[in-house]
Symmetry: C2
Subunit: 201 residues, 2 copies
């Protein structure tokens, strides 16, 4: 599976491409950080990030895009820009029918370090180790994008199976509820007929 991992951001947006092999084997194919100056117009910054994302999607043709899920609670000042950057990347994927999946920062940390509360240095160290890289990826946004892609390689297939199982269970439950409802209707109709019959007699 080819996963494009994205650590969204306006000032620095990490994008990475990781391919999963057998078991937990993962290989980094590419990683980059898109930067836009803070004094640039917001629309132009989004356009630069969107253009970079389109280029990555067209050149690398990933099967899925994994983006960090942003919460409004964290870092209020940058959360909006982060959400907007993630939004235009999700849009670029949607335009190409590439599914988009989200993982929370703690899911990503837990996947690569074993702890949901690992710090940036620990994430970078583990990413370097897992991917067998000679040097640590820099800046942290590059490491985070790689970590996101690794996280999806490992968690993604399980998540999809869980989602499918959930859908099947929902469908079964719906069918069962429909059956019960129709059985009840039949029963009440029979009762009514019986009551009318009694009254009629």
């Amino acid at each position: 599976m080819r996963v494009m991992g994205v650590d969204p951001g306006l000032t620095r947006c990490g994008i990475a491409l990781v391919e999963s092999g057998r078991g937990r084997q993962v290989t980094a194919l590419d990683v980059d950080v898109v930067r836009t100056p803070s004094d640039m117009d917001l629309a132009e910054r989004l356009l630069a990030i969107y253009t970079a994302a389109c280029h990555w999607l067209d050149v690398h043709q990933p099967e899925v895009v994994a983006i960090e899920r942003v919460f409004a609670q964290n870092q209020v000042s940058t959360a909006m820009g982060t959400a907007q950057a993630g939004g235009v990347i999700a849009l670029a994927a949607g335009q190409r029918d590439v599914p988009v999946r989200f993982h929370t920062p703690s899911e990503v940390k837990a996947a690569v370090t074993g702890s949901g509360r690992a710090d940036k240095a620990q994430v970078t160290t583990m990413v370097t180790k897992i991917l067998g890289m000679q040097t640590k990826p820099r800046p942290a946004d590059a490491a985070d994008a790689l970590a996101l892609a690794i996280c999806h390689c490992w968690r993604g297939p399980m998540q999809e199976r869980m989602a499918q199982a959930q859908q099947q269970a929902d469908a079964l439950a719906r069918r069962h509820r429909a059956k019960v409802a129709s059985a009840r209707q039949v029963a009440s109709a029979t009762e009514q007929r019986a009551a009318t019959g009694q009254r009629g007699s």
Copy 2:
């Protein structure tokens, strides 16, 4: 001036087109609410909103797009989606070189009702009155998009003049600082030469 006002949102996104005339005269040309179901994939929802925005921009050719500035503090649960929706609309404008401007909710309320803390009903009432509409625009997102466009018609030209004045002032200050710095260099070089001359004598 033709202004496209946007009240961004994933579930309901208000888009309005308002034209300003002489003084404070404003005319509503069109208004609509783009809706996407909450059980739809985020990428598909953003794509639907982006496609609608592109259509509006291409058909109506506004001179400027005014979007509500979202704060992470308000309504944490929907703030991220709102930011993402606003992001893809800003992107659509950026792709067409249409400038994007932002106004805070209180700026919009103050512009149309006179009070930054007016409620939704007051905003709707004033928008209906200002635009001379026969019926109140519904839902509130439609009224908000109209209010944003009106706000920009009235505040925008002043804001642009202020921004230009600021830029000119900055340029003057830069030139002055450069002049002072070069004068200082000349002065210190002269001093140094004088000192060397004294030592040499």
